[in-house]
């Protein structure tokens, strides 16, 4: 016998209350006022009766009611050896690499075989995973239902990520000992985005399915008005021949043939002119992964993505030089044409003036009234994307008017410091910094002489810090709006960041992070939140709901595999938290047994009986 909340057993002390009341009830009853007491005879027999319990049934019921209440709140359970078997979590890989001919069927067969070997009363859960995890069957002993779910599993468009299913399994097991069976094609890149842990009381089985296959894929598609360039790769080991087709908005397709040796990529160019709209390139490849046989791209009708740089007055236009040059350099990419506009003065800060801007850099507020800048806050709330660079021309107190509502405070500034150092990544996995690769080193080597004091609170987060630990780059999101704040300037006055080799890539990654790939023309499938568009195609998922091309991650086509042992070694196996395991087990026992319900039912019966008996007992007469 055990109790989930033994503290409530202290309530059993309350049973003393009715006992004392029954013993001393007559002592506390008020005496009856009377006048002719002189004519009454004292009766000594009454004194002996006072120590007796007058209504033993009432007392018993009241004691029982209080005891049952205390016991019910203490959540009792009977410690029994669990007759239920350890649960099993089946995790099946549904990334697009599983779409190779026969591979998913093999995975289904392997999982079904595991299921068939399990005793019928074994609780089983079914999880499908790629870069997202979905629990297809919660823990159940209905193996037939699990088989039905298993039979309906289809390969998707996602990329293999192993951490997700293991974390889901951990949640499903909830501390209990159990078994996780992962059925996958064991792609090595599945651990690329970090690893995870599994308690050592959970048995892990890894079933590898599928062998290396010959695969031809469309690695890239870029469309400009002059030409459409399709990068076709042969990931197999034997030469491949085939055709590439390019279609525009579902119209008639242009076709070219290709011949590729094993492990070789080649550009197939479709000459222009090409009009704006959605393009799809497709290769014929029956033997490889169907998911990577096509690729989408979008050629926008408008000339370029608009980058607007705001300065206080026309004299400060040179402040925008480095940003302008950086995007001019980035704009040479065929699918990433940027148009940089420099606007000065308070009118430039009005929402109407910013209506056509995809991304705004705010570098100066000289001569601009503080009230005028407040419109920027609303612009961000309405879905605008704003980069604020605190500097000698942008007073932190003025910038603070815009950034504070989003959890980023700015103050100070203008005090040279030799100890600031360069920019150090807070989290190297952040999209802006992860895309830089080795160029992050350039940021660390940069010299920053002055910076504003930046505070990051609430939902805002720090992206990078100065060498002395102070926040250097922070971001905040409000709905579709996105705000990035740099605590130093972008005009080479307080730092030499603009002349670092990483400056242009940083601007590019920043724009990619805030707008999407190709200035918003491409969005990775993994970052699409809307379930309707979590598949390749051209969908309205770009900045300001513009159409953008969504494609599979071609990294999934990498057929590098690992062994089951290597898979296991990638997972940390910390000892199970015995106290938590015991607590979870006790909670489950208590929930399954539900003794507290019987206690409450008995309590209700006791209270009804008590009221019936109490009603039958005549009340003492009181004479006023």
């Amino acid at each position: 016998m055990g109790f989930l909340a033994p503290i409530f057993l202290a309530g059993l002390a309350a049973v003393a209350v009715p006992i004392l009341l029954h013993l001393f009830r007559r002592e506390i009853a008020p005496p009856v006022p009377f006048t002719a007491v002189r004519f009454l005879q004292k009766r000594t027999i009454e004194r002996q009766e006072r120590r007796r319990i007058q209504d033993p049934w009432l007392l018993l019921l009241r004691v029982a009611a209080l005891s049952l209440l205390a016991l019910a709140f203490a959540r009792p359970y009977v410690r029994t050896e669990s007759t239920t078997r350890p649960p099993v979590v089946l995790a099946i890989d549904v990334s697009y690499s599983m779409g190779a001919p026969g591979r998913l069927a093999a995975a289904r067969a392997a999982a079904t075989a595991v299921l068939a070997q399990l005793p019928a009363d074994t609780p089983v859960s079914l999880v499908a995973f790629a870069d997202r995890v979905s629990v297809l069957a919660e823990t159940t002993t209905d193996h037939g239902a699990v088989r039905a779910q298993l039979a309906a599993v289809q390969a998707g468009h996602g990329t293999t990520r192993y951490a997700g299913p293991l974390e889901a399994a951990r949640g499903l097991l909830d501390g209990r000992p159990g078994r996780v069976v992962v059925v996958t094609d064991l792609q090595a890149r599945g651990w690329a985005r970090g690893t995870t842990s599994l308690p050592d009381n959970v048995e892990l089985d890894v079933l590898g399915v599928g062998a290396r296959i010959d695969n031809v894929l469309v690695r890239d598609l870029t469309v400009t008005r002059d030409q459409a360039r399709v990068v076709v790769s042969n990931a197999g080991q034997v030469p491949a021949r085939g055709t590439v087709t390019l279609s525009h908005e579902g119209g008639p397709a242009a076709t070219q043939t290709f011949t590729l040796d094993g492990g070789v990529s080649r550009d197939v160019v479709f000459a222009g002119p090409h009009g704006g709209g959605a393009y799809t390139a497709q290769v014929s490849d029956e033997a490889g992964f169907p998911g990577d046989n096509q690729r989408h791209a979008l050629l926008r009708d408008q000339a370029a993505t608009t980058i607007q740089v705001l300065v206080g007055d026309a004299v400060e236009r040179p402040l925008a030089l480095f940003v302008e040059r950086a995007f001019a350099a980035l704009g040479t990419e065929a699918d990433g044409a940027y148009a940089v506009q420099i606007a000065a003065g308070a009118p430039a800060l009005a929402s109407a003036a910013l209506a056509d801007a995809d991304l705004v850099f705010w570098l100066s507020a000289t001569g601009v009234d503080r009230r005028a800048v407040a419109t920027l806050e609303q612009w961000v709330r309405d879905g605008g994307r704003l980069v604020v660079a605190c500097g000698p021309s942008l007073d932190p107190r003025v910038a603070d008017v815009v950034t504070r509502p989003f959890g980023i405070t700015l103050s100070g500034g203008g005090t040279p410091s030799a100890s600031l150092g360069g920019l150090v990544a807070e989290d190297p996995r952040h999209p802006v910094l992860a895309g830089l690769g080795q160029a992050r080193q350039d940021l660390a080597r940069a010299t920053v002489s002055e910076a504003c004091d930046m505070g990051v609170t609430g939902s805002a987060s720090t992206v990078a810090r100065f060498g002395d630990g102070r926040p250097a780059l922070a971001e905040a999101r409000v709905g579709a709006g996105h705000l990035v704040v740099l605590a130093s300037d972008l005009g080479r006055r307080w730092n030499n960041l603009p002349v670092q080799a990483a400056f242009v890539p940083v601007m590019g990654e920043l724009a990619r992070h805030m707008l999407g790939d190709g200035a918003g023309a491409r969005v990775s499938l993994a970052s699409v939140e809307d379930a309707r568009y979590q598949r390749p195609g051209v969908w309205p998922v770009g900045p300001r709901a513009q159409r953008a091309a969504v494609n599979v991650d071609v990294a999934e086509s990498d057929q590098s595999v690992m062994t089951a042992d290597e898979f296991r070694q990638a997972i940390a196996r910390p000892p199970a938290d015995e106290a938590r395991v015991a607590r979870v087990r006790a909670t489950r026992l208590e929930r399954d047994q539900g003794w507290w319900r019987y206690g409450m039912a008995l309590l209700a019966v006791a209270l009804v009986a008590e009221s019936l008996i109490a009603r039958r007992t005549p009340a003492a007469e009181v004479v006023s």
Binding site: A29, P31, V32, V37, E46
Partner: protein, 302 residues
């Protein structure tokens, strides 16, 4: 414990009287009911010395109507004589703590005594008698000398209305104090539950008689004091002395009733022997019925 008058009655139940407004209204209601029942005044003077005319009131003896005045004025007037105004009546009301006791929804003993006394005062002042009032517990607390003057009834009623329960009663001491204040022979009416030293009370009343006073005692008792209806065991606390007695109602009832019966019988015997009128006043009985009972037993008018 509800006390009601058995059967239909022309008398006013104490519950009804208790619900009336002022003490004067209560007194007038009681007296008018009483006079309607009598059809003749219980008070009749014997002097031949004319004092005044007074308008005829129901209950007045038609023999006293001056028919000559009626012939002249077409109104009924009765002739009042000097002796009618010379009766000096002292009303004594016990306001000890025990008088505040009441077991039913009607009146407490004190309220009953107040109404009874007020009715008498109303009746007597209407006949131009000199009426005074004394309130006492362990001593005389409030004393209004007997007088015949305008506003006397109001003074008496105000004094009665302001009577609040006091301490334990000492009737003998109060009677001594009243005795010292009386100037001439007259009538003394005592309203009390007589829960006191019985021998001293009787002796005090006997001394009043020895002074030539006519003495009437209204022994005001509650129904619970006369019947002891308690069914449970419990502690009974004396409201005057604080004495507590633990007893069981049904088993103690007979002994109690025997003791109370003997106590009352002693009063009746002793007081009659002393020439004192004794009238039991049960708070559950109509007030006018109590007054009528006393008048009937007295067998003569004032």
């Amino acid at each position: 414990m509800s006390l009601t008058v058995p059967g239909p009655s022309r008398f006013l139940s104490p519950e009804v009287v208790a619900g009336l407004g002022t003490l004067e209204l209560k007194a007038r209601t009681i007296v008018e009911g009483l006079l309607l029942g009598l059809h003749r005044s219980p008070f009749r003077g014997s002097s031949v010395e004319f004092a005044e005319y007074r308008q005829y009131m129901p209950g007045d003896d038609p023999a006293t109507v001056d028919w000559k005045v009626y012939a002249r004025s077409d109104r009924h007037y009765v002739k009042k004589f000097e002796h009618d105004t010379n009766v000096e009546v002292q009303l004594l009301v016990d306001i000890s703590a025990s008088m505040a006791y009441g077991s039913g929804p009607g009146m407490t003993k004190l309220q009953y005594a107040q109404c009874l006394t007020a009715a008498l005062a109303y009746l007597l002042t209407g006949q131009r008698d000199a009426v005074g009032l004394g309130l006492y517990d362990d001593q005389l607390r409030n004393y209004v000398p007997a007088a015949v003057k305008a506003g006397q009834l109001t003074r008496l009623l105000i004094a009665l209305d302001h009577a609040a329960p006091g301490a334990a009663s000492d009737t003998a001491t109060a009677l001594q104090q009243v005795r010292d204040r009386l100037r001439r022979r007259g009538l003394v009416v005592v309203c009390s539950d007589l829960l006191d030293d019985q021998a001293r009370v009787v002796e005090g009343l006997r001394l009043l008689r020895a002074r030539g006073m006519e003495v009437v005692v209204f022994h005001v008792l509650d129904e619970a004091e006369l019947t002891f209806p308690f069914e449970q065991a419990g502690t009974f606390r004396d409201v005057e002395t604080g004495e507590q007695v633990l007893t069981h109602g049904p088993s103690a009832r007979q002994a109690y009733l025997d003791a109370v019966g003997a106590w009352r019988a002693t009063y009746v015997t002793e007081l009659r022997a002393a020439g004192v009128d004794y009238q039991l006043a049960r708070t559950g009985e109509p007030l006018d019925l109590t007054l009528l009972g006393w008048l009937g037993s007295r067998g003569r008018t004032l």
